[in-house]
């Protein structure tokens, strides 16, 4: 494909490599968007990285902060950005000027892995756009629809919109409002892009008479087992509940808080536009958070296959191995998503090649037999491609992290020891390790917060409920985020959560934070 040449386009020798690698990747079965590589200097790559890979974004100081951090850790040699690729069609990836040829090849192979993943993994379907550049619901499309992914344009447009707003409102006001929106950025429902909702309000149903569930009993025993007074009492409780619910909005708790605010908060026009942009970008980045381990693992799996099966020549292989080892290293007991991902893929490939799955395998108790289990099915490759299409990190770990894997890779849980004032290995018990890992990945690592009532206590206050799953919210941050909520909702905001084991209600009225312990709710 002829590419327009610009200052940042690849020099001919790398263009040649790109063609070779692309052919190798295609031959291996990868299916990707066209990829455009650009060659950048340190400064430029730090800038682009600070902007999350996009050449144009809305102005905000946080990007400046990221830039400083990146260029500093670069100067001090702490880190080097290895690869940067954006989920766009055509995909755009950046190479760092002055890297060795081996490094550049490694990065290119890695990038083709990512782009294959962007194109095929289901989670990224939520970033499909229609012909006019609107986000579409992939579930409502036919089998073979042709989406576009011109996110570079879309995000540049966001930048232009925000700049226009700044021209009118002044940078301080707009930037402060963006700060507020960003504080709420994680209040999204990662699965909502795939949900289908009926249009318009539901038909108001005739309220049905309340039926109290009865315990089963023989007819002559009924009045003893389900005494009349008790049933009556329960009926009243249930009726009161139903009545409560009827007047309540939203009817059911809404996890997509950001979207709820966008639709219902009394915002000015420009505020709504800014909030919509922040939300849009939060959903754009959500699949990348959902599939961090899978995505990096997949790219690493393929760079190592491609590099060692032809892209590298004999003189480069040691350099490659050296760099690869650095990328895959786990230091100080830390879990490295690249490493965990790639090892899981390899384990899947091997298991499906040897037929280590299904009922017989699950029910086999003989460790020795399991170790030597080999049905010579050769289904590994097929399974790999299926997995990369249909899973995200949570389901991936849930399904493929086996006790054998945890033992082979020496996984453990660590916890803070108060007595020794240090982190210590707490357990290697498989169930607990897996549970911890899944907990950390669930809901993009964010707490579950729901809009419970938009007219709480009939005072127009917003009530959020935190579904507590064992870990408290960080208190100072919660208070700050509630201030941001008040700025958006423009009325007091309440948060029902659990603090140190006690159900509590936090409230912020715009001036003062209060925290009240609640009687244990039903």
């Amino acid at each position: 494909m002829p590419q327009p040449t610009s200052r940042t386009s690849l020099p001919p020798y790398l263009r040649q490599e790109q063609e070779r690698i692309e052919a190798a990747a295609r031959a291996a079965g990868l299916d990707f968007f066209p990829v455009i590589f650009e060659m950048l200097s340190y400064d430029q790559i730090n800038e682009i990285a600070a902007y999350g890979g996009f050449p144009n974004r809305y102005p905000h100081w946080r990007f400046g902060m990221d830039y400083e951090r990146l260029s500093k850790s670069n100067e001090y040699g702490l880190s080097k950005i290895y690869e940067l690729v954006i989920n766009n069609n055509p995909a755009i990836a950046y190479l760092l000027e002055g890297n060795s040829l081996t490094d550049q090849k490694l990065v290119m192979c890695h990038v083709y892995g990512h782009v294959d993943f962007f194109k095929n993994n289901f989670a990224f379907r939520s970033t499909d756009l229609n012909a006019t550049g609107k986000v579409i619901n992939p579930v409502l499309q036919g089998e073979h629809y042709k989406p576009n992914r011109k996110w570079v344009d879309r995000i540049a447009n966001h930048g232009a919109t925000v700049r226009r707003i700044i021209d009118r409102q002044g940078i301080d006001e707009v930037e402060k409002f963006i700060d507020n929106c960003l504080s709420l950025e994680n209040l999204i429902d990662p699965y909502s892009p795939f949900m289908v909702r009926s249009e318009g309000p539901k038909e108001e149903e005739e309220p049905r008479p309340v039926e109290v569930p009865r315990l089963r009993a023989k007819s002559y025993m009924d009045k003893f087992i389900n005494p009349e007074e008790y049933i009556e009492e329960q009926r009243q409780v249930l009726e009161a509940k139903q009545k409560d619910k009827r007047g309540k909005y939203p009817r059911e708790p809404v996890q997509a808080v950001l979207g709820f605010l966008l639709n219902h908060a009394p915002l000015e026009r420009w505020e709504r536009a800014v909030l919509a942009i922040i939300r849009d970008e939060a959903y754009y980045f959500s699949p990348q958070i959902q599939t961090k381990i899978m995505n990096e693992g997949w790219a690493s799996y393929w760079h190592s296959r491609l590099m060692t099966e032809g892209v590298c020549n004999a003189s480069e292989i040691v350099d490659y191995a050296d760099n690869n080892a650095a990328v895959m290293a786990t230091s100080g007991g830390q879990l490295n998503p690249y490493k965990l991902g790639v090892e899981l893929y390899r384990s899947i490939e091997e298991r499906w090649n040897r037929g280590q799955f299904g009922r017989d395998w699950e029910q086999c108790d003989d460790l020795d037999r399991k170790r030597n289990w080999d049905l010579r099915l050769g289904l590994g490759k097929e399974k790999l491609f299926e997995v990369r299409r249909l899973y995200n990190d949570v389901t991936f770990i849930d399904e493929f992290l086996t006790p054998e894997f945890a033992i082979d890779h020496k996984l453990f849980n660590f916890e803070w020891s108060k007595r020794h004032e240090q982190y210590e290995i707490a357990t290697r018990e498989f169930k607990k390790v897996k549970e911890k890992l899944l907990t950390q990945l669930t809901n993009l690592g964010s707490p579950f917060l729901y809009v419970d009532d938009a007219n709480f206590e009939n005072r127009g206050e917003l009530l959020l409920t935190h579904k507590h799953r064992g870990v408290d919210l960080r208190h100072d941050y919660s208070q700050a985020a509630m201030s941001a909520l008040v700025r958006v909702w423009k009325r007091p905001v309440c948060l029902r959560t659990v603090l140190e084991g006690k159900p509590s209600m936090l409230r912020f009225d715009g001036k003062e934070h209060t925290s009240v312990q609640e009687a244990a709710a039903e």
Binding site: Y51, L184, N186, L335, Y423, D472
Partner: protein, 369 residues
């Protein structure tokens, strides 16, 4: 090359400056928080700047790791937040962020926070600095300096002369020889000069804590005056019963045990000014720090005599800082105030402890002399 990020970066730096301003009093009274980095840079720890979200209390919540070790073994080091792999919670209590800023920026912040006035320049300024000024036009130069109007005119002239100009479709394509660029000339400009003469009592009664206060205070005075005058010099004089000039390092680390004759230092300062800093060309700032003990009333009187006759006529300001010490009588400041209290050029300040440094800096620099 200018980058798109520059504006965002600038706004981030503004936030950083705001944080430094908020904590300035703390930084001033705890001088060791500020690390020197090369000639013009300092690094300052400020509270982590972050966008707060609803998130888990990550402190000590643990996680999943990989590697050798028995249950109960230490992880070795503190696990850091992995790059977005979705680990719960980011902060482990208070993270500090080290930021670098230039001394000039720091001085500006100091000036704004303490509302210090700019200094009225007194000297006549003999040292000159060179500066580039755009003065003319030439035919070659970088594109960024291209003079659009002149280039257009040349292009128009050429088009008309060659008959290629069509007034219905007035399109001009500037050729290489049409292009005109701004050019510049170096000019020299006078620069104000200033000298600070630090004097300190190093007799037995001045302890380490007192010297620390002097060191911190002199850092801020230096920073501020350096911002005001390009060519700032510092001289250091220590004295007990006799005075001598020393380098900076010795100044802060010497401890003598003799008696105290302040006049010796003033005499030396007067000599220094007389020989090296003609007052019509220099802004002169003598700063004297002591615990207020002097050998005798006679000596104090001769101090005042020297000040009045030799030093005060030549200087912008004479500053005396009295550091409280358990041994000093603190008499000297009273004598100074009694005899010279109504002289505008004399500034005295009592510094009880580190927390008083801020007020004392304001005393010294708040007049704008």
């Amino acid at each position: 090359m200018s980058l798109k990020i520059d504006q965002d970066y600038g706004r981030f730096r503004n936030i950083v400056r705001g944080k430094i301003r908020e904590g300035l009093r703390k930084y001033i009274s705890q001088g060791d928080m500020i690390g020197r980095k090369g000639k013009d840079l300092v690094s300052i720890p400020i509270p982590q700047i972050d966008i707060p979200r609803f998130t888990f209390d990550g402190r000590h919540s643990g996680g999943v790791g990989q590697g050798e070790g028995e249950v109960g073994d230490s992880m070795g080091g503190t696990p850091q937040e992995g790059d977005g792999s979705g680990k719960a919670g980011k902060g482990e209590g208070q993270h500090m962020l080290e930021v670098d800023i230039t001394l000039d920026e720091l001085a500006d912040i100091l000036g704004q926070e303490l509302e210090l006035p700019d200094i009225k320049n007194k000297g006549q300024s003999k040292i000159r600095s060179s500066k580039d000024r755009y003065t003319g036009i030439r035919r070659t130069g970088p594109e960024s300096l291209r003079h659009f109007k002149r280039t257009y005119r040349e292009s128009l002239r050429r088009a008309i002369a060659s008959g290629g100009y069509d007034k219905d479709a007035p399109m001009l394509i500037p050729q290489h020889e049409d292009k005109r660029y701004r050019s510049w000339r170096e000019t020299t400009e006078p620069v104000a000069n200033a000298v600070i003469i630090y004097m300190m009592d190093v007799s037995g009664s001045m302890g380490d804590e007192q010297k620390e206060i002097v060191r911190i205070e002199s850092f801020w005075i230096d920073t501020w005056l350096r911002r005001q005058y390009r060519g700032l010099e510092s001289r250091y004089i220590i004295h007990d019963a006799v005075a001598r000039e020393v380098d900076r390092d010795t100044f802060f680390h010497t401890r003598e045990s003799g008696g105290t004759m302040i006049s010796s230092a003033y005499r030396l300062a007067a000599k220094l000014i007389d020989q090296e800093y003609p007052p019509d060309q220099w802004n002169i700032y003598p700063f004297h720090f002591s615990d207020g003990d002097n050998w005798s009333m006679d000596d104090t009187l001769s101090c005042i005599e020297i000040l009045r006759k030799q030093i005060l006529p030549d200087v912008n300001m004479f500053a005396y800082g009295q550091v409280e010490s358990p041994y000093g009588s603190g008499q000297f400041i009273k004598d100074l105030r009694e005899h010279l209290g109504d002289d505008q050029r004399v500034v005295t300040s009592e510094i009880e402890d580190k927390n008083a440094i801020v007020a004392s800096i304001k005393d010294f620099l708040g007049k704008g002399n």
